[in-house]
C-alpha cells in the first residue's frame, strides 16, 4: 500500500464518518439515529473551535480538548488534518481533481504554483483572533461550515426528495444565503484546485502556523533535480516542493513523493536541500491590521445595542441557551441544534440576532411541525460549545430538584386581541388554549356572552319552559344547535343565557336542565347569544414554547405570538415582579 492509497482511505473514512454523523443527527435509538453517536467529534477535533472559544470564554469546553490532540500531531507531523482528515478539504480535493486532473502538466504546474494571496487565510485567522467577545470563526472554519451546509441544505434537499426518508421535509430560513458561500467555496475549485484550503481556510492557517514546529516535513534530498515539475503538477497545497519549500502551505497530500522519478522528495526531519520557508508570508503590519480589524468588528456590531436596550424580542433562543453575551461568545453557527430539533422550529437567524448573530439559532414558530416540544431537550445535548446548555428534563420543566427555580422560559405568549377570533370577531376558537402543553395550562379563558349581530331579538309567539315558537323568519334549521349559541329573554327577571339544544326555522329549544324561570308568553322578545371563550395568558405559567403560536388558525400574522419577554436566561427581560 502506498502512502497515497493510505491517504485516500483516510480521506474517504473521515468524509464518510462526517456524512454518517450528519445522517444520524435525528431523534431516535435505531443505529442510524442519534443514539450515542459522537456526532460532534469532528468539530471537537477542530482546534480552531477550541482556540477560538478559549479566546472568547477563557475556558476549554468539555470535549474540545480533542483539538489539542490534533494540534499536537500537527506539531509533530505538519498539516496532516488538511490532507488526511478534513471532510471539506476532501470535498475540494475531489472537485479539484475532477476539474483539473486531465489538464496538461504545464497547466497543472501553473495552477498549483504558490501565490502570495495564500496569505489571506492568515489574515482571516488573525481577524478572528481579534474578535474576543464574539465568536465568528464558524463562518469560515471548515468543519462548522460543512456541518451547516450539510445539515441545513444538503440533507433537507435529499429529504424533500425522499432520498433519505428519515429526514423528511425540513425548512430553513435564509437557506439560499447559507448556500451561496458553500457553492462558491466548492465552485472556486474550478478556477484553482483547493481554492478554499489555499486562500480562505482559517483552520488551515492555524495549522500552517503550528507546522513551523513540525519535526518531519517534506523536502528535497538534493538541491538540484531534473526540474520535471511532476511534483508541482500534483501538489495540493501549492507549497512549492521543487523549489524553496513552504512548510506552512504543505497539507501532506504526499503526491510529490511517488511522483519524483529520482526519489528525491522525502518526508524527513531535515529541511529541504533546496531551502525552506517555515513561516507564512505575512508581515507584522498585516498581522496588526488583521488583529485590529477583528478587535473592532465586534464592538462596532455592538453599537446597535442588540445586547442591551435595543434587544430584539423576536430573538427567541432555544431552551438552555445562555445569556446573549455569553451565547455570542460560544455559538459556532454549525446548525447541529437546527438539525436535531424534531419540530424544525430552531432556525438559522437572518438579521434578527444582529449581523454578528447571523445563522445563530432562533425559534420561528411559523415553520416546522409544532412549537418547542415540552419534553424535548435535544438541542442542548448536541451543542458542541455549550452555547445551549444540556438540560435535564426536570430542569427544563422545573420539576423535582428544580422545583424551586421553576421551568426554563424561552419567551412569553401574548394574545393579540385585535386579531384573535373570539376577541376581535366574536367567533369561537381557543385552539391556543387547547394546545397549551403546560400543566396547569398557561392559557386560560374567560367566558363572555355576546349578542349575535346577524339575528336581532326575536318575537315570541308561544312557548313553554324549554321551547319557543318565534314569529320572525330569521332562523335556519340547525343553525344554532351546535353548543355555542344561547338565548335569553329580554326581560328584567330572566337574564340567564340558556343553551340552545335544537332549532327549527321557527322554533328554539333550550336544555331541559335549565328551563326558563317564567313561562314565555306571546309578545316577549328573545335574543340569541354566542358564547365566547376568550383566551388570556398567565405569565406565571407560560414558558414561551410557541405551540399556541404554531397552532393559531390566524395563519398570517398569528393572533397569539411569542416574544422573548420573561426569558429565563436574561434577568433584564423579566416581565413580572
Amino acid at each position: 500500500m502506498t502512502i497515497i492509497v493510505a491517504r485516500r482511505i483516510s480521506q474517504a473514512f473521515f468524509l464518510g464518518l462526517f456524512l454518517w454523523f450528519c445522517v444520524v443527527m435525528t431523534m431516535g435509538d435505531a443505529f442510524w439515529q442519534l443514539r450515542g453517536w459522537p456526532v460532534n467529534w469532528l468539530m471537537q477535533l477542530d482546534p480552531l473551535v477550541s482556540l477560538a472559544t478559549v479566546l472568547t470564554t477563557g475556558a476549554v469546553h468539555p470535549g474540545l480538548l480533542w483539538g489539542l490532540g490534533t494540534l499536537s500531531l500537527t506539531i509533530l507531523l505538519g498539516r496532516f488534518f488538511c490532507g488526511w482528515v478534513c471532510p471539506f478539504g476532501t470535498l475540494h480535493h475531489i472537485v479539484g481533481y475532477w476539474a483539473h486532473g486531465r489538464k496538461t502538466l504545464s497547466q497543472r504546474v501553473h495552477l498549483n504554483r504558490y501565490r502570495p494571496a495564500q496569505r489571506l487565510k492568515y489574515i482571516f485567522l488573525f481577524c478572528f483572533f481579534g474578535s474576543t467577545t464574539s465568536l465568528q470563526t464558524g463562518l469560515l472554519d471548515p468543519i462548522p461550515f460543512m456541518h451547516r451546509a450539510v445539515n441545513l441544505l444538503i440533507l433537507p434537499l435529499l429529504g424533500t426528495g425522499g432520498v433519505i426518508a428519515s429526514i423528511g421535509s425540513r425548512y430553513y430560513q435564509s437557506a439560499l444565503l447559507i448556500g451561496i458561500p458553500f457553492l462558491l467555496a466548492v465552485g472556486l475549485n474550478m478556477l484553482i484546485p483547493r481554492f478554499y484550503c489555499r486562500f480562505v481556510c482559517p483552520l488551515g492557517a492555524l495549522f500552517g502556523l503550528f507546522s513551523r514546529l513540525a519535526v518531519w516535513r517534506i523536502g528535497k534530498e538534493t538541491k538540484a533535480c531534473a526540474e520535471c515539475m511532476r511534483c508541482e503538477s500534483l501538489c495540493e497545497g501549492a507549497c512549492n516542493p521543487s523549489g524553496v519549500f513552504r512548510v506552512s502551505e504543505c497539507i501532506l497530500c504526499m503526491n510529490c513523493r511517488p511522483s519524483c522519478s529520482y526519489d528525491l522528495v522525502e518526508y524527513q526531519s531535515a529541511p529541504s536541500a533546496a531551502g525552506e520557508i517555515p513561516w507564512p508570508e505575512i508581515n507584522r503590519r498585516q498581522f496588526g491590521v488583521a488583529l485590529l480589524t477583528g478587535m473592532t468588528l465586534a464592538p462596532l456590531s455592538r453599537l446597535e445595542g442588540a445586547l442591551g436596550a435595543n434587544w430584539n424580542p423576536k430573538r427567541i433562543r432555544p431552551p438552555g441557551a445562555v445569556s446573549e453575551g455569553a451565547f455570542l461568545e460560544r455559538c459556532l453557527k454549525c446548525g447541529q441544534c437546527m438539525r436535531i430539533c424534531p419540530t424544525n422550529v430552531i432556525q438559522p437567524s437572518e438579521w434578527g440576532a444582529g449581523i454578528e448573530g447571523l445563522w445563530t439559532p432562533v425559534l420561528n414558530f411559523r415553520i416546522g411541525t409544532s412549537g418547542c416540544q415540552l419534553n424535548c431537550i435535544a438541542c442542548g445535548h448536541v451543542c458542541p460549545t455549550g452555547a445551549i446548555v444540556p438540560l435535564a428534563l426536570d430542569q427544563k420543566l422545573g420539576r423535582g430538584t428544580y422545583q424551586e427555580s421553576g421551568p426554563i422560559r424561552i419567551g412569553q405568549a401574548f394574545v393579540d386581541r385585535g386579531r384573535c377570533l373570539p376577541w376581535a370577531m366574536n367567533r369561537p376558537c381557543i385552539v391556543c388554549q387547547e394546545n397549551c402543553p403546560v400543566s396547569p395550562k398557561a392559557i386560560q379563558t374567560d367566558t363572555d356572552f355576546h349578542r349575535l349581530l346577524e339575528i336581532p331579538p326575536l318575537r315570541v309567539l308561544t312557548g313553554n319552559a324549554s321551547t319557543l315558537e318565534v314569529g320572525d323568519d330569521l332562523l335556519k334549521r340547525y343553525r344554532l344547535d351546535g353548543g355555542d349559541y344561547f338565548c335569553r329573554m329580554v326581560s328584567a327577571e330572566d337574564t340567564l343565557p340558556r343553551l340552545i339544544v335544537a332549532n327549527d326555522d321557527r322554533s328554539l329549544t333550550v336544555a331541559a336542565t335549565a328551563p326558563f324561570d317564567r313561562l314565555p308568553s306571546a309578545g316577549d322578545r328573545v335574543e340569541i347569544l354566542i358564547r365566547l371563550q376568550r383566551p388570556w395568558v398567565d405569565p406565571a405559567k407560560c414558558i414561551g414554547c410557541g405551540t399556541c403560536e404554531h397552532e393559531c388558525p390566524v395563519k398570517g400574522l398569528r393572533a397569539i405570538r411569542i416574544t422573548a419577554e420573561n426569558e429565563s436566561r436574561e434577568k433584564e427581560h423579566v416581565l413580572l415582579l
Binding site: P62, I75, L76, L213, P271, A273, L577
Partner: protein, 331 residues
Amino acid sequence: MTNDSDTGRVMGRRQWLQQIGKAGGAICLLWSLGLWLREKDGRKSALPVTSVRFSNYAVPGMAGKLVAVTGGEDRSKAIGLALQALGGIEKFIRPGDQVLLKVNAAFASPPLIGATTHPALVAELIRLCLKAGASGVLVADNPINDPAGCFSLTGIDAATRAAGGSVVLPKTGDFKPLFLQGAKRLDGWPVFYEPFKKVTKLIGVAPLKDHHRSGASMTMKNWYGLLGGRRNILHQDIHRTIQELAHMVTPTFVVLDGTVAMMQNGPTGGSLSDLKQTGTMIVGTDQVAVDAFGAVLLEKDIQTLGFIRQAEAAGLGTADYRSLNPILIST
C-alpha cells in the same frame, strides 16, 4: 545518510534532538494550558458582587421632629424658618459633613410645572449646609428621562453649581445590589450607591405631587430615584415598594415642598391647571409623618395610600402626624 554538507541537509543528532525538544515543549505547553483552562463547574461563574446597604443618616435626639411653614411663596425663606424652628441647620449638619441632597429630577420639565424639586429650594439648602460647615454638597437622582437633560431643564444643575454644590449623574457602574433584610421587593435590587460612598448626611427634597399609580408622590416615593435596573416592573407592587424604600433609607431629614401641589395628572403634570398654591413647606425627621401631612394638602384620604399604612405598620414612622405635635409657623 550521505555526507552532503554543502546543502546543509544532514542533520546532526544534536540538531534533531533540539527540534524534538522544541516540538515536545510546545506540545507540553499546549496541554498544560488546555488542562488549566478546562471548563469546570462554576469556573466561569460571575465574581461575587458585594451588596451594599445605606447607613443610618439620622441625627440622634432629633427623631419625630415635624415643622410646617405656611402662607409663603418664597421657598428660601420658608425652608430657613422651618429649620430655625428645629434649632437651625447646625442641629443636623456638622462641620466636615459630606451632604447628599436627593432631589426629584425625574422629568425633563421646567420648574414651573412642579414635577421636580424647585431649584430655589435646592440652592438654599446647599447654601445652608455649606454655611453650617459641610465640606461638600452632592445633588443626585437617577431620573426617568435623560439624566443630563433633566438636571439641566429642571434648573437644578445651574442652581446647584451657583450655590457651590455638585450634581452627580448616574453612570452604569454606579449601581450595586442592595442588601435589605426582609424586603420582598428591594433585597438585591440595584441601587445608585456610588455617590453615597463618602456621604455622612442625607436630605430628601421632594415636591408634593399626585401620582396616578400610588396615589401620591412625596418624600418616601422620592427614594425611588435611587433605584436602577428594571424598576418599572416595581409598579406591579407599588405600595410595598415605597414602604421598602422608606425602610431602605433613614435620612437626616426630609423636605416636602408644598409651596405648590400637583393635584392631578401626576407625576408629570404638564399644565399649570394641574397645580394648586398650597403654600406649605414641611420639614421633618419622620418621613411617614411628613407624607401623611402632605396627603392632607393633596386632599387624599390617607386610608387609600397603602404605603403610609404599611410603613407605619413596619414601624418606620407615624401616620398620625398630629401626635408628633408639629410646629406650625405662618408667615
